[in-house]
Structure formats: structure tokens, C-alpha cells
């Protein structure tokens, strides 16, 4: 990618990540939530990949790490739902509700948002990296192979 894109991404990738975290954390007070914020978080890593190549982005968030975060987010959400059974029913809001319009309010809703944000961001990045790394090779005898690129060149446009 060009110099302009690299410079702009260098400045804005961090802010994109931060904004994603904000959208997730304040999902119960302001518009947004786990899904929207998670897409922003994943998008910041995708921006890094597009501007600086896979190597740098994978240093920040490796593939196994993104898979782990993906699974962990889903499991935390399910765990929060299951803990509610102990107090009565599935998805019982077991934490104190607190004062409305404060960051620590609304019981388990912010925790659910964080779990979903983690899940969505990590899975978006994992799928993007998996798609970016596959190269389709068509052989002359009609068969096709799906090879994984090993070199750390930039992704072609």
C-alpha cells in the first residue's frame, strides 16, 4: 500500500480500536453494543493488515490468539446465561442494577456486551486472515489446490 495509506493507518488504527472498545463498554448507555464495537475492533486489525501486511498484524494478534478469543467470548456469554439458572432462570440479570446512565449499571448487560465484542472482533479478524492467506491454484489437469501463503508480502489489491 502507498505511503499515504500507511501514515493514515498508523495514526488511526489505534483510535479505531479505542473507539471500538468505547462502543462495547458503553453499549448499555449509548447506541451501539457488542456487535458494532466488535466489528470496529476487528476492523482496526484488518486496517493494519491491509496497510502493513499480515506479518505485523499477526504479531499484534496471532491466529491462535484470535481463535481463542473467539471461543472464549462465546463461552463467557453462555456462562453468564447459565449462572442465571442458579438464581432462577436462564439469562437472569443476577448482578445489582446500579444507577441508570452510569458505566457500572445494568447488571450483566455490559459483561455480555464485552463477551460479544470480543467474540465478533476476533472472529472477523480470524476469517479475514484465513481468507487473505489462501491462494487458489488451478492446475492444468483441472484440479484446484488451496495453498496457504507463507511469505509475508503485502496483500494484493
Amino acid at each position: 500500500m502507498g505511503e499515504i495509506v500507511r501514515n493514515i493507518v498508523r495514526i488511526f488504527a489505534g483510535f479505531t480500536l479505542l473507539f471500538g472498545v468505547y462502543i462495547v463498554a458503553y453499549g448499555h448507555i449509548t447506541p451501539g453494543g457488542g456487535f458494532a464495537g466488535g466489528v470496529l475492533i476487528g476492523g482496526s486489525f484488518i486496517l493494519l493488515t491491509l496497510a502493513y501486511g499480515k506479518k505485523l498484524a499477526l504479531q499484534k494478534l496471532s491466529r491462535s490468539m484470535s481463535s481463542t478469543l473467539d471461543s472464549l467470548g462465546a463461552l463467557i456469554f453462555l456462562f453468564l446465561a447459565l449462572v442465571g439458572i442458579a438464581g432462577g432462570y436462564f439469562f437472569l440479570n443476577f448482578l445489582p442494577l446500579g444507577k441508570p446512565f452510569h458505566l457500572f449499571s445494568a447488571g450483566i448487560i455490559p459483561l455480555c456486551n464485552i463477551a460479544i465484542g470480543m467474540k465478533v472482533g476476533a472472529s472477523l479478524f480470524a476469517v479475514f486472515i484465513a481468507l487473505a492467506m489462501v491462494r487458489v491454484v488451478k492446475h492444468e489437469d483441472g484440479t484446484t489446490d488451496y495453498l496457504e501463503e507463507t511469505d509475508d508480502t503485502e496483500i494484493k489489491q
Partner: protein
């Protein structure tokens, strides 16, 4: 309640056939049958809107899947089998129409939406959940079960994509 258990049993049977059968096309048709029985079950539970969504999605998915497999697996039936399948299809359509009439009878009359549930959410959302964002309180408290379903769908699709795009442990055509 009994017919619901019959429908559930048929769905489980269809799923087992879809996994166990050797032909790809038969497997897809069994999956389609499971979807249609689920649609009938939704109608039995008086949920016509979900039944319509289920029917539309099922038809679309079935068309895509059949289009994808029809070139690879061609088993043609003819003769007496054809008459039998037409009779079976007519019976299935009759079943769907019967349950649709049953389900639509309790739908609200046209032009009078029964928005009692959403009204309650709007009125009591803040005091019940403590979340200032009413959308969040619906998504993650009143309807958290739906969100769990969405997360599960997302998880399954991502796991499937990563499974097909992996390199490690994959069999190549050369063995």
C-alpha cells in the same frame, strides 16, 4: 402437545437420515424436510411470522444447495415412484395449509398490531434492567436468548470457514 412431539420426532428422524444417507441429494432433501417440519411446528405454536421466515429461508437454502449438488449426483426416479412422491407432496402441502390456517386464526386483525409486548419493554425497560440504552436492554436482557442464538450461528459459521480454509491437517488430493 402430542402433535408437537410427533413433529419433533420427525425432525430428528430427518436429521438422522440426512447424516446417514449415502447420496448427497437425498441428504439435502432430508435437510429441507426438517426445515419444513420446523415451519409446521412454528405454525402449531401460533407463530406465523417466524413460520414465514423459516419457510422463505428454507426454500432459498434448498434451492442454493440443490443447485450446488445437482451436477454431481444425479439419481433420477421415474414410474411408480413419481406418482408416490406427488401424492406425498400433496399430503405435505395439505398439512402445511392446515396448520397455517390454524396459526393465522390467532394473528391480530389487519391494521391492528398488538404491540403490547414492545410497549411493556419501553415502559419498564429502564427500571427492570437498569440499562439506559433500550436496544441493549432488549437484546441482552428481554431477548437475550435470541442473541445467544445469533452468537451461536456466528460461531458456527466462523468455525466452518476456518475449517475449510485451514492448511494444517488437511488431506491433499495426492494423499
Amino acid at each position: 402437545m402430542l402433535e408437537l412431539y410427533v413433529l419433533l420426532g420427525l425432525m430428528i428422524l430427518g436429521a438422522i437420515i440426512a447424516v446417514e444417507t449415502r447420496e448427497l441429494l437425498s441428504s439435502i432433501i432430508s435437510i429441507g424436510a426438517v426445515g419444513f417440519i420446523l415451519c409446521v411446528a412454528f405454525l402449531r405454536l401460533h407463530a406465523p411470522d417466524i413460520a414465514i421466515t423459516q419457510l422463505v429461508v428454507e426454500v432459498a437454502v434448498l434451492i442454493v444447495l440443490i443447485r450446488a449438488t445437482i451436477g454431481r449426483d444425479t439419481a433420477i426416479t421415474s414410474g411408480r415412484g413419481e406418482f408416490r412422491s406427488i401424492a406425498l407432496l400433496t399430503g405435505l402441502v395439505a398439512v402445511i395449509v392446515f396448520f397455517a390456517a390454524m396459526g393465522l386464526r390467532c394473528a391480530p386483525p389487519f391494521g391492528e398490531p398488538l404491540l403490547t409486548v414492545s410497549g411493556t419493554y419501553l415502559e419498564t425497560g429502564l427500571e427492570k434492567t437498569g440499562a439506559a440504552n433500550i436496544v441493549s436492554s432488549v437484546l441482552l436482557d428481554f431477548r437475550a436468548y435470541d442473541t445467544l442464538g445469533e452468537v451461536t450461528v456466528l460461531f458456527a459459521s466462523v468455525a466452518g470457514a476456518l475449517l475449510f480454509l485451514r492448511k494444517k491437517g488437511k488431506k491433499t488430493e495426492n494423499g
